[in-house]
Amino acid sequence: MKGLALCVAAVVAVLLAIVLGPTHIPLADLATSDVVRSLRLPRAILAFLVGGALALSGAGLQALVRNPLADPSLLGISGGAGLGAVVAIALHVTNPWAVPLAAFAGALGAMALVYRLGIVGRGGVGLDSATLLLAGVAVGAFAAAITTAIVSLSDATQLRNAQLWLWGGLSGASWETVGLLCAYAPLPVVALLASARSLDVLALGEEPARHLGVAVSPLKRRVYVAASLLTAAAVAVSGVIGFVGLVVPHAMRLLWGHRHRPLFPAAFVGGGALLALSDTVARVAVAPRELPVGIVTALVGVPVFVLLLRRWTTS
């Protein structure tokens, strides 16, 4: 029942994203409109996929680092992506895909560094949750500092706009982007879904989890890498979008409980619905101007979260 309601909400959100826009397009013309086919439709789908990926990563990372405040952007990934983008812009690469690809590479670089720093202990097998979180914050801050240094020492207009790129939102949506994400995302998504039950057990702590049959170190590696890969791809196609990865998993926990089997799909669909809805608001609210979608996710996400929190704490 809840699941059905969520799916309906997601479908409605995506339909709204297709129907509504700064330009009024009569319902009868939707199917034939060029704007709908080449801009709105891929953007609505991309919003859904990116929102889903961020929320799913967030849910996985929160369980992994045992911290409810964990957010995909906290693990240094955004910082790395920003640095990659700025370098690509500074080098004047003229390939139209250079900036997203460089951002993706930067995100992967930051991820690898955080991962390496997060490994503690002799033999280098244990991924320590607290260290991982600290390493993420440190690497993110360092990458952001380098980015700012490059930007402020440079004369080029384009570089000053690199900061804008990070908050770029979903304006880069096209069928090609959607296709890339569709080809790329299934592997990390499946890896996370496959880890769902193990994460339930890991919530008891590493030692109890080991005794219940969880191979703890491989699990943590798998979840970290999968969640990072998803986030890196999301950042590469849409810049940094906050709140989805933090708020949606918690909201879904309040509705679905803490078992990751139902939680993961719910978080994906819920995150997708939230971002599709937020992007519609961002495009329509102050038309013809556009709001940064991250502002809208916070404006939409936080009240919903507060409502759920109140309902849950009073019952």
């Binding site: 826009g21 700064p22 330009t23 060029d34 704007v35 080449s38 801009l39 709105r40 891929p42 004047h92 690469v93 003229t94 390939n95 139209p96 895909w97 250079a98 900036v99 004369d155 080029a156 207009t157 384009q158 000053r160 706009n161 804008l164 790129w165 908050w167 770029g168 939102g169 304006s171 880069g172 949506a173 096209s174 069928w175 090609e176 982007t177 810049g239 495009r283 038309a287 013809p288 101007r289 556009e290 709001l291 940064p292």
Partner: protein, 301 residues
């Protein structure tokens, strides 16, 4: 270069129609003293016309040279590249958040400050050091005449200031040519940022016989959706480029799939706005309008 104007756009500066307060102070003061009211409404009096001027905006630098007072300029910003003679003046660094020590080191008797929140603090600091500063707003064409008069008075070039102001007033008052071309100025691609009605480029478009399709957006610049650009369907896309000389490198975004929804991009009807002539309003406005008209006509063909 586009840099200066571009930065001021991104700083989201509001444009005030400061055409009011037309009583530029030329009140009798001690013999030889000059008095003006700047764009913040501050009354500034100099005992004698300034001889060591530091300019903290490229528009003011151009103005000082245009009034024939270039020899009195002892400091400029890194962005000041016009006229070429300006490059010979020592730079004091960035104009938007000026390095006060570098400014003071030039021993100025007048500092011309660009009106922005960042410069308010600088003005106060300079006042504390006993260095007179005037704040000038030069975002729109109609503001240039006033600035020309103020700088003219302070630099002892009152007549030149008056005649430049008169020439610019005539340009603004001129009957507009019929608008034949619809243009969108795209300054950034992710997210798409366009020039709105509150900008100098919008005025230039009008003078050049074109319509900025985002004229209704009141701000100097704004983030908009590709869908909006596509449905407003400009005939030409104008893109500011950094490179003033040499080959223009076409921006990467014109080859991105989602931009192909825009007719002018598909048809590659693009013009590149190069050089500082398009960056800020000033004495070259008429020339800039002519250049833009020519560029648009070539692209429309």
């Amino acid at each position: 270069m586009r840099r200066w104007a571009h930065r001021t756009h991104l700083a989201g500066l509001l444009v005030f129609a400061a055409s009011a307060c037309g009583t530029e102070g030329k009140r009798p003061a001690p013999a030889g003293a000059v008095t003006v009211t700047d764009d913040l409404g501050r009354v500034v009096t100099l005992a004698t016309p300034a001889h060591r001027i530091v300019s903290l905006s490229p528009a003011a630098t151009e103005l000082v040279f245009a009034l024939g007072a270039g020899a009195r300029l002892v400091g400029r910003t890194t962005w000041c590249d016009y006229p070429p003679a300006a490059l010979a003046v020592p730079s004091v660094g960035d104009g938007l958040s000026p390095n006060i020590e570098a400014v003071v080191a030039r021993r100025p008797d007048l500092v011309l400050v660009y009106r922005s929140p960042l410069d308010q603090a600088a003005t106060a600091q300079l006042a504390g050091l006993g260095i007179p500063a005037v704040v000038l707003e030069q975002d729109r064409l109609e503001q240039v005449g006033r600035a020309a008069r103020v700088v003219g008075v302070l630099a002892g070039r009152e007549r030149a200031g008056d005649s430049l102001a008169a020439a610019l007033a005539a340009l603004v008052a001129r009957p507009l040519p019929p608008a034949r071309v619809r243009v969108a100025f795209v300054v950034w691609d992710t997210p798409p940022v366009v020039i709105g009605g509150g900008s100098y480029l919008d005025q230039l478009a009008t003078l050049a016989g074109a319509t900025n399709v985002f004229h209704d957006v009141g701000a100097a610049s704004a983030s908009v959706g590709l869908e909006t650009i596509a449905t407003r369907d400009p005939d030409v896309i104008a893109v500011p480029r950094d490179t003033a000389r040499g080959e223009v490198i076409p921006p990467a975004f014109i080859r991105r799939p989602e931009w192909q929804a825009i007719r002018a991009i598909r048809a590659r009807r693009l013009v590149y706005l190069r050089g500082s002539i398009f960056s800020w309003p000033g004495p070259r406005a008429e020339q800039a309008a002519d250049q833009l008209r020519q560029l648009l006509a070539e692209a429309g063909r």
